[in-house]
């Protein structure tokens, strides 16, 4: 563990009593003294502050100075409408491979004369190398290594951030803005990974700890660890890369068709032209053979990642596998995601094998807990 990286907040985590664990090569807080369950519920009722500085921040600056040039180059890597995104807005996307699988999922923003991209911690080195290999003719691919990233999530997030950074409250869901705080620029988006209203904020490392402490001093703001981050995102029906989506799952199988805008689909003005387009466009038209669905296990026993799913209570081969599963503190019930044959409607009963016993679970719509965005 000696080579684990630390974020700029390491000492603050320790001071706050965090239990630190290795995650994506970093020593990260999995929970604070409050504990996962209360941290989860606190985020839904007040506000939680998360250290997500391990994630990769990247700027794609077009050599021409024109956003559209960078956008069209980026569109060769993602099945998403990048050129059509308005300035000051953010959108979800994924890098696809030639087989139509997902190399990583990400957020990107139109910041006027460039794109700002945030990618997963575990994939960031390969993502940056990949972007450099494919975009360098058109863009400077700049890894942002001198800024921390925090997420402030929950119904009290708006008031807490507005008190420090006037203008934050006026932002809408998926807006991005650059706003000043104590002489430095904060790169703010109104988004997150919890299903709650909130913000993700990139702050220069030199001011990051002071900024986090200023947020923690606001009413209702508590530090939240990776444990609650996972149960919050699962209740919100959001994918965890490497678990719910990976190189072997297409965006259509992953139930992410909403992220593929019409302009990139068959018949659209910029249809295809991304890795794996033949498979992905075909699946959009014909439907996939399997799809990521939500499951609500009956009773209280959680069905964890790797649990095999069967059509009936006895016999037969597995029809799928659970990719994420746990207990939802807000729904007070177990929840899971699984890849199952397409065509299983909500309400269909399947069986997860837990400790040798097949237990019923109902195919259920996601999110499991209603989202609370400020649109």
């Amino acid at each position: 563990m000696a080579d684990l990286k630390r974020t700029v907040f390491f000492d603050l985590h320790v001071k706050l009593g965090a239990k630190m664990v290795p995650f994506a090569g970093y020593d990260m807080p999995v929970q604070y003294p409050m504990g996962v369950l209360k941290e989860h519920l606190h985020t839904r009722t007040a506000a939680g502050l998360f250290d997500v500085s391990h994630m990769g921040q990247v700027i794609l600056r077009p050599k021409s100075g024109q956003y559209r040039d960078a956008a069209l180059a980026f569109e060769r890597l993602v099945p998403v409408d990048v050129a059509g995104l308005a300035e000051g807005r953010q959108r979800y996307a994924m890098f696809t491979n030639d087989a139509g699988g997902i190399l990583d999922d990400l957020m990107f923003a139109n910041r006027g004369d460039h794109l700002f991209v945030v990618v997963n911690a575990a994939c960031k080195d390969q993502d940056i190398a990949y972007m450099r290999a494919h975009l360098s003719e058109v863009c400077d691919v700049i890894a942002v290594t001198d800024r921390a990233l925090v997420a402030l999530q929950g119904p009290a997030a708006e008031a807490a951030l507005e008190a420090l950074v006037p203008g934050a409250a006026a932002m809408k869901f998926m807006d991005v803005a650059i706003l000043p705080w104590q002489g430095v620029d904060l790169w703010i988006s109104r988004s997150g990974y919890t299903g709650e209203d909130g913000y993700e904020i990139s702050v220069p490392e030199g001011q990051a700890v002071a900024f986090a402490e200023a947020l923690l001093a606001r009413p209702g703001v508590q530090p939240i660890g990776l444990g609650a981050r996972d149960s919050l995102r699962l209740e919100a029906g959001m994918c965890l890369y490497g678990h719910d989506i990976d190189e072997g799952t297409s965006p259509v199988e992953g139930n992410l068709t909403w992220a593929v805008q019409k302009v990139r689909r068959t018949g659209g003005a910029r249809a295809g032209g991304f890795p794996g387009d033949a498979r992905i466009l075909k699946e959009l038209t014909d439907g996939p053979t399997r799809r990521r669905v939500g499951l609500r296990p009956e009773g209280r026993a959680p069905m964890r990642e790797g649990t095999q799913v069967f059509a009936g209570p006895e016999g037969g081969a597995p029809i799928g596998t659970i990719t994420s599963g746990g207990f939802g503190p807000s729904i007070e019930a177990p929840m899971a995601m699984a890849y199952l044959p397409a065509g299983l409607a909500d309400g269909a009963v399947v069986y997860g094998e837990v400790r040798g016993k097949r237990l019923p679970a109902v195919v259920a719509p996601m999110p499991f807990h209603p989202t609370n965005y400020k649109r």
Binding site: H40, P302, P329
Partner: protein
């Protein structure tokens, strides 16, 4: 009270041993969200999987600490698994197991030895 290396506590009540998990174990597990108990009258051998605890983090087995028959289980834990965190050595006992010979408990740690184990 006796303690096992698997962080169970054992309390003798007549010819019956009451079994639960220690405060240290409950703290390590984190918030408990599910408990599965054995059926009454099941005959267990020492080391058998006896009960299951699931926390927000992971599932753990509770092993039978001695040979014997399960004579009572704490159904309260099924409806309120959080008791394991709030009162691990009191209200959150898991099961009672009837043993032929209480001397088998002599092999287990006393409180001082257990405290030493967990540091």
């Amino acid at each position: 009270m006796k303690y096992t290396e698997d962080h169970e506590w054992l309390r003798v009540d007549g010819d019956v041993v009451v079994v639960g998990i220690t405060e240290h174990a409950a703290e390590q597990l984190g918030d408990v969200v599910f408990v599965e108990l054995p059926e009454v009258e099941t005959v267990m051998a020492k080391g058998d999987d006896c009960a299951v605890i699931e926390s927000v983090k992971a599932a753990s087995d509770i092993l039978a600490p001695v040979d014997g028959e399960i004579v009572e289980v704490n159904e309260k834990l099924v409806d309120n698994p959080g008791l394991v965190n709030t009162d691990p050595t009191g209200a959150a006992w898991f099961f009672k197991i009837k043993v032929d010979d209480l001397s088998v408990l002599d092999d287990y740690m006393d409180e001082d030895a257990y405290k030493e184990l967990i540091g």
